[in-house]
């Protein structure tokens, strides 16, 4: 591992963290070569996480879009309800190998926090989760779940009080206790080796989905679509298709839909390369290099940066990045629920919205595989309120 994805990635961290990062990289490499570790990981993915998750063909959604057949990879059916658990279990096992019994983590939507809390409870590790106060208010049920699972939840009031600030606080805590604590980073962001490790633990999504899709259809999909906040579910999904003639599409949050005029969380569309939280990647920043405010209705996408590998994919054209607005995501949220019987996370609804856009470019017989990264229970309150508000505005306009 060299820690670089083209000109992105690296280790832009305090000197205090360089040693722990080197230790983590070395242990990860040893773990990958250790049949016992891999067997234990497989066993936990099967018996605790509930893998393999199925792929599900859509009955109605997509058919209206030129007769394209949509398939969903059902990460919403994992234990704790999102792909985050794959990485949490993997890194918790790594932490145990490193002899670290204390885990710290950050969470935006709360999905990663819940996954960390569950993994730590199962493996007997002590967990502390940092969460922005704004996110905690938007995702109250997940805060309760984390506490019930035995994790300490530390609310962060600094900055924008969202994911970026929760990551800052977790890194500060890690700098203070690097010898005893493992920072269980939840996405393919941050300094090397995290982007590589998290992608590694999420690659199970792509491996399963590719084999399942081939098994069902006898061919690969025309396109694979996933949402990209930090980008871990997309990195895991895309990793299996990088050598295939398959179109890969990442969907970022266009938020209020004003394009580059702010109110979004789409650095790959409207940002520039810079350094944030230990890595060089596309960022939303102002002319002075200060990190800008972001907005998305999906708290898990509300991040000013993105995984460095996605930046490299963007520059090389390996993956195409498009966006879906809050409105489009809400439409997909409602449509998937009512037409297919699946309530998606708002993050995943962005992927579905993006897939419906991509579908318009194809004709009957075409297939698109969408990563449904998580389930929507956590978003019910905010999504229902937003849908109702929209309804009222439309009625007023009429």
């Amino acid at each position: 591992m060299n820690g670089r994805f083209g000109e992105y990635g690296g280790q832009f961290v305090a000197e205090t963290l360089v040693g722990p990062l080197e230790e983590l990289e070395a242990e990860y490499e040893k773990a990958l070569a250790d049949p016992e570790f891999l067997a234990e990981l497989d066993r936990l993915l099967k018996m605790f996480v509930g893998r393999p998750t199925p792929i599900t063909p859509m009955q109605r959604l997509g058919a209206t879009e030129n007769g394209v057949q949509l398939w969903l990879k059902r990460e919403d059916l994992t234990h704790t309800g999102a792909h985050k658990i794959n990485n949490s279990i993997g890194q918790a096992l790594l932490a145990r190998r490193l002899g670290k019994k204390r885990i710290i983590a950050e969470t935006g939507a709360g999905q990663h926090g819940v996954a960390v809390a569950a993994a730590c409870a199962y493996l007997g590790l002590d967990a502390t989760v940092y969460m922005g106060r704004v996110d905690a208010e938007r995702q109250a049920p997940n805060v309760q779940r984390m506490k019930l699972l035995g994790a300490k939840v530390r609310l962060v009031d600094l900055g924008t009080a969202t994911l970026k600030d929760a990551i800052n606080e977790a890194i500060r805590e890690w700098i203070a206790h690097p010898d005893t604590t493992h920072y269980l980073l939840g996405s393919v962001v941050g300094p090397h080796p995290f982007p590589t490790i998290v992608r590694g633990f999420q690659s199970v999504i792509g491996r399963e989905a590719r084999a399942q899709f081939l098994d069902e259809n006898g061919a690969l999909p025309d396109a694979v679509v996933a949402c990209v906040g930090g980008g871990s579910n997309a990195a895991g999904m895309f990793s299996a298709f990088l050598d295939d003639p398959v179109r890969l599409v990442g969907v970022q949050a266009a938020g209020e839909g004003k394009g580059g005029q702010g109110g979004h969380a789409a650095p790959l569309l409207y940002g520039d390369p810079g350094v944030l939280q230990g890595t060089r990647t596309y960022l939303l920043q102002d002319d002075d290099g200060q990190i800008q405010l972001t907005h998305s209705i999906a708290p898990g996408l509300d991040y000013a940066g993105v995984g460095p590998e996605h930046s490299h994919f963007k520059d090389t054209g390996k993956v195409e990045y498009i966006s879906a607005s809050d409105d489009e995501a809400l439409d997909a949220f409602a449509a998937l629920s009512a037409q297919e019987g699946i309530v998606p996370a708002l993050e995943s609804a962005h992927a579905v919205a993006g897939a419906l856009k991509v579908a318009r470019e194809y004709g009957p017989g075409s297939t698109i595989l969408v990563n449904l990264s998580g389930r929507g229970d956590k978003d019910l309150t905010s999504a229902m309120a937003a849908l109702q508000q929209r309804e009222e505005l439309r009625n007023e306009a009429a």
Binding site: G10, Q11, F12, V13, A14, E15, T16, V18, G19, P20, L158, G159, K164, N168, I171, R172, I175, A176, H177, P178, D179, G274, V275, L276, Q277, G278, L283, Q285, D287, D288, G289, Q290, I291
Partner: protein, 265 residues
């Protein structure tokens, strides 16, 4: 760079520890910063470390982070900080001034332009807390071209090999972290610090300046003879923050710096 080397060399001859005073550019506002720099220098600060604020200062504790936010709110940028350096020079400040800041605002400014402009403004070097030596080649190249200092870090958990690497890359001095964690006042120095400083000394040819948690004359005195310099930040900004008005902030600066400088002899 020459001014920085000369300062450490002169103090070594005098048997004094070099006192580095950290101030946040634009705190409490852009108008007072030059006055605070002058006051610190007159009271005995040998080097001024001037912080360029950043929205996400990962290495900073609550005190410095809060000053940075206030500075950002009042419009402080890297360019405004270079103006402050130029004004300080025009006002007769002669001590070396190193600029502390995180990678992103500096990268955004453009490294070649930044080092050129810093030199023209009268700055003496850069301290970048999220830049380990292994990521710093381009920065060192620009520092060498502009004849400015480039300071890297040693941490208590760093291997001796890594400390040697950071020391070899450093121009001006090596910033030796006295503790893990972020900046901030600590009651006591870690008892392991002397042995750690000896380990750093064995592989370091540039001057060693120790920072993080140094707030009192006793801390400075305890490091006398073991380190070439000490760096005080949070304690100074805390005093400045507690003062009621501009005159009080100048008095707070002068008072603390004078008492710390007395302990360097």
């Amino acid at each position: 760079m020459k001014r920085l080397e000369q300062t450490f060399a002169d103090n070594r001859i005098k048997g004094e520890t070099t006192l580095v005073a950290y101030l946040t550019s634009g705190y409490p506002n852009l108008g007072e910063t030059v006055g605070l720099i002058s006051a610190a220098a007159e009271a005995g600060a040998d080097v001024i470390e001037l912080g360029v604020p950043f929205s996400d200062p990962l290495g900073d504790g609550p005190v410095i982070q809060a000053t940075g936010q206030i500075a950002l709110d009042t419009g402080t940028t890297a360019a405004a900080t270079l103006d402050i350096v130029a004004e300080a020079r025009a006002a007769g400040v002669e001590v070396p001034i190193v600029l502390m800041g995180y990678c992103n605002p500096f990268l955004r400014y453009g490294l070649a332009q930044l080092y050129d402009d810093a030199k023209s403004a009268g700055a003496d070097g850069f301290v970048v807390p999220d830049l380990p030596a292994r990521e710093g080649a381009e920065w060192v190249k620009n520092a060498e071209a502009a004849e400015l200092g480039q300071v890297f870090f040693a941490a208590p958990g760093s291997s001796t090999e890594r400390i040697a690497e950071s020391a070899a890359a450093s121009r001006g001095f090596l910033y030796v972290l006295a503790a893990n964690g972020v900046t901030g006042v600590r009651a006591e120095l870690d008892p392991g610090v002397p042995a750690y400083l000896d380990r750093v000394r064995s592989v370091c040819e540039v001057p060693m300046a120790v920072g993080f948690g140094i707030s009192r004359p006793e801390h400075v005195a305890a490091l006398h003879g073991r380190a070439d310099g000490v760096i005080v930040g949070s304690a100074l900004l805390q005093r400045i923050g507690e003062a009621k008005d501009a005159a009080g902030r100048l008095r707070a600066t002068t008072g603390l710096i004078a008492s710390l400088k007395a302990a360097t002899r």
